[in-house]
Symmetry: C2
Subunit: 115 residues, 2 copies
DNA sequence: TGCTGATATCCATGGGCGTCAATATTGACG
DNA sequence: CGTCAATATTGACGCCCATGGATATCAGCA
């Protein structure tokens, strides 16, 4: 995708009222982040060495069953916040910077409003 | 070229794994944004003239019952994304720029990761 | 081929959430 | 006071979702 598309699609909330369709797509991503476990997963993956973490790294970081972690990873992947790649027995997850940047830009508050 | 690191509380995801407590607080806000109606409400309020909108403006923008809008406004207010002020018969809502900025900064992706 | 470890899928369960009708509250105005 | 308009609260219903146990898939290895 080119930068114009990114810029155009990521204008802050203030610029224009979100149409239903776009709001639905963005809400899916925010809903995915709206779980403390998933938020920590994204944080761990983003901050992990090499920008990626395998599932074993994550299951070790939570007091949750392995299927639960796998479920959360699927949710994050389905909304485009994570990608996965299998290498041998292990599956490595990494964040999708463009997707995070899109959400970040959306919430950026213009100076004229931040008063 | 490291920018002035915003706030200690708002360092991007990459800097440090979120502890449970902080993740819980942030997840509450993201969960509130994880509904298309609420996302559009925030958008409408932020973009409305004067930076504020009364409930009547919102009920007119959705094909939803008035209690439903009122419920969504309460959710957004409870997580600190909106404030309300009564003036006469009308109640005006406005966004909390600091709260939005906190979330935006959290999702901002450092250059070394966005490669 | 069979075995073992890593990860994903399936299924059930309990709790949380979006919606709305009915009702309550609040303020303005006569 | 009484009435009306704007907004909030309550209660109920149906559905989605986080979680974990059982099981399946997949890759490496003997």
């Amino acid at each position: 995708m080119d930068e114009l598309t990114v810029l155009d699609c990521c204008a802050p909330l203030v610029r224009q009222p979100l149409d239903e369709e776009r709001a639905a797509g963005l809400a899916r991503a925010f809903k995915a982040l709206g779980d403390p476990v998933r938020l920590r997963i994204v944080s761990i993956v983003a901050g992990h060495e090499g920008g990626e973490a395998c599932v074993c790294d994550l299951t070790a970081s939570f007091d949750l069953a392995q299927p639960t972690i796998s479920h959360h990873l699927k949710v994050l992947k389905d909304v485009g916040l994570l990608t996965s790649e299998r290498r041998g027995s292990w599956v490595y997850y990494r964040i999708v910077p463009d997707r995070l940047a899109e959400l970040s830009a959306l919430l950026a508050v213009p100076a004229e409003v931040a008063r």
